[in-house]
């Protein structure tokens, strides 16, 4: 491994891991003495019914948001890169709007606009909350996918695929998608992280998701909060590793660019 790579990775490891180590050391303290050592904080988290319930809710929500985002954004961005390059800056601009609308404003607006909607949409997190999270994930999805599409030669791939007789859907799924795998995965990771971390909107819409549970513990249970931070970090990381694994299995063959 080259020297500069080693140095950079080492510095990064230091910056990113030390705070987690500090959190871990704090999570081992006893309530009675504020000193080492006890696993009570972890016991508190693992035996908490709320923890498992909200984790399940958020997990399902995350998969749903990723699926909707990919289905909505990948074809659109592909199409824009292929046929409508003038539209790209417009969409890039739209992608910044979610940053500007404070979550509180977004949720109040959405609750107002969709008040008359059917119960399965309005009263369930898998309806209105998922729809909103797709919008939140939009900037991250867009810029990731955009970078990915730039890195490949969309026109050549499409023409080649079509000249071999493939239809549009086949081209998209079996030729384009494997080539933007890294970008799609990156966008999916970010969407997953958003769902596991978004608090304000879920809170105001009165849904009981994992970040709500996280925030509550953060504000009330000192040692439990530290334990929970690390546990949720670990769980999200494991979820991403499994996404990575799934992605790798599907698209292992047709890599025409960036062979890593």
């Amino acid at each position: 491994m080259s020297l500069s790579a080693t140095v950079w990775l080492l510095l990064a490891a230091l910056y990113f891991l030390l705070p987690l180590v500090a959190t871990f050391l704090f999570s081992l303290r006893r309530v009675q003495t504020n000193a080492c050592c006890s696993l009570a904080a972890y016991g508190f988290v693992v035996h908490n019914g709320d923890f498992w319930h909200t984790l399940r809710v958020s997990g399902v929500l995350a998969l749903e948001v990723i699926a909707i985002s990919l289905v909505l954004f990948v074809p659109t961005i592909y199409w824009v890169h292929l046929k409508l390059p003038r539209l790209r800056p417009v969409i890039a601009f739209l992608a910044l709007v979610p940053f500007v609308v404070p979550p509180i404003v977004l949720v109040v607006g959405i609750l107002k606009v969709y008040k008359g909607s059917p119960v399965w949409f309005y009263d369930r997190p898998n309806g209105i909350l998922a729809a909103t999270y797709v919008i939140l994930a939009f900037p991250y999805m867009f810029f990731s996918l955009d970078a990915g599409f730039r890195a490949i030669d969309v026109h050549t791939l499409t023409e080649a695929s079509q000249s071999l007789g493939a239809s549009w859907p086949v081209t998209l799924v079996r030729v384009i998608l494997p080539n933007i795998r890294a970008a799609a995965l990156a966008g999916s990771f970010l969407a997953l992280a958003i769902v596991m971390g978004e608090f304000t909107i879920a809170n105001l819409a009165q849904f009981h998701t994992f970040p709500i549970f996280l925030q509550y513990v953060n504000e009330t249970q000192p040692y439990g909060a530290a334990a929970l931070t690390l546990i949720s970090f670990g769980i999200t990381w494991a979820a991403m590793l499994s996404l990575l694994f799934i992605g790798r299995k599907r698209g292992g063959n047709l890599q025409l660019a960036g062979a890593r």
Partner: protein, 286 residues
């Protein structure tokens, strides 16, 4: 480029996308734009006063600080993120690093708020493990050079989610740097620096510009971490918006909406600057 005649049909494919954004973004967000110009007084009606208030203190200062923090962390995040991403992708690095770092980045990119603030307080705060270690082993007072509860401290902590975000976005673009170009360049006698200056960076520039915008927006909208660290002593616009819209003390939703409108203007200005820059950068890439 495919014939002009096909454009009308081609647009149809983007309809689902636009329909979705209108339904779930514009309709709800429209109230921000219109609300910014509504009056708080009993009669209702329209007014510019909310927006003109923004040019006075403390809002002006809050915008300046917000923009500073966002720009600095976006720039640093981009550069450092690129360095780490390149380090993990390049030839001699074992492949496992990429998977580990990419997934870790996915988690870290959304790690924020109280847990992140607390993690850093526990590391480099007044009683943090690093602070105490340096104090006991050499009498070095870390907080004198890196005080956590200041703007610089907030920026230092923000990098924890900015750098991973940069890594995730720039890595696919780095993949696009074909190995053959590097080989060709070195065959022609170019040094590493020359390769980057004439080939690498120009190719990556459009994506890096996009990444900068994303990082900027990401930091601009963030506030939970800064609030946990400084409760608004380092003034940021989203904190003020929260104070006026959902706190326990102040209550002025239209002013809050005006502030959000101001954020919108700032980001719009960035996009306006981004488009010509990106077009220029694109020329080099093709």
């Amino acid at each position: 480029m495919s014939g002009r005649r096909r454009l009308p049909l081609a647009w149809i494919a983007t309809v689902p996308f636009f329909a979705y954004t209108v339904a779930f973004l514009f309709l709800p967000a429209g109230s921000v734009i219109t609300g910014a110009f509504k009056s708080n007084s009993r009669g209702g009606g329209w007014t510019f006063s909310n927006v003109t208030t923004l040019f006075h203190e403390p809002y002006r200062h809050a915008y300046i600080v917000s923009i500073e923090v966002s720009a600095i962390t976006a720039a640093l995040g981009a550069v450092l993120g690129f360095a780490v991403a390149y380090a993990m992708i390049r030839d001699n690095t074992p492949r496992i690093f990429r998977g580990v770092i990419t997934t870790f980045s996915g988690v870290a990119a959304n790690f924020g708020g109280i847990p992140l603030a607390f993690a850093f307080i526990a590391t480099i705060g007044p009683l943090g493990i690093v602070t105490v270690f340096l104090r006991n082993h050499g009498g070095y007072e870390l907080n004198q050079h890196l005080p956590l509860f200041t703007q610089n401290g907030v920026e230092f902590v923000y990098l924890y989610f900015q750098i991973p975000l940069a890594i995730l976005v720039i890595a696919p673009a780095i993949d696009g740097l074909k190995r053959e170009w590097r080989e060709a360049a070195s065959n022609l006698g170019a040094s590493s620096w020359q390769y980057w200056r004439h080939v690498g960076i120009p190719v990556l520039l459009p994506s890096m510009l996009g990444m900068f915008i994303l990082l900027f927006g990401n930091a601009f909208a963030a506030y939970a971490t800064a609030y946990a660290l400084t409760t608004g002593v380092v003034p940021l616009i989203p904190i003020l918006i929260g104070a006026y819209y959902q706190g326990n003390v102040l209550d002025n939703p239209h002013l809050a909406q005006a502030m959000a409108f101001g954020m919108f203007v700032v980001l719009a200005a960035m996009m306006v600057a981004y488009i010509p820059l990106q077009r220029r950068a694109q020329r080099w890439a093709k």
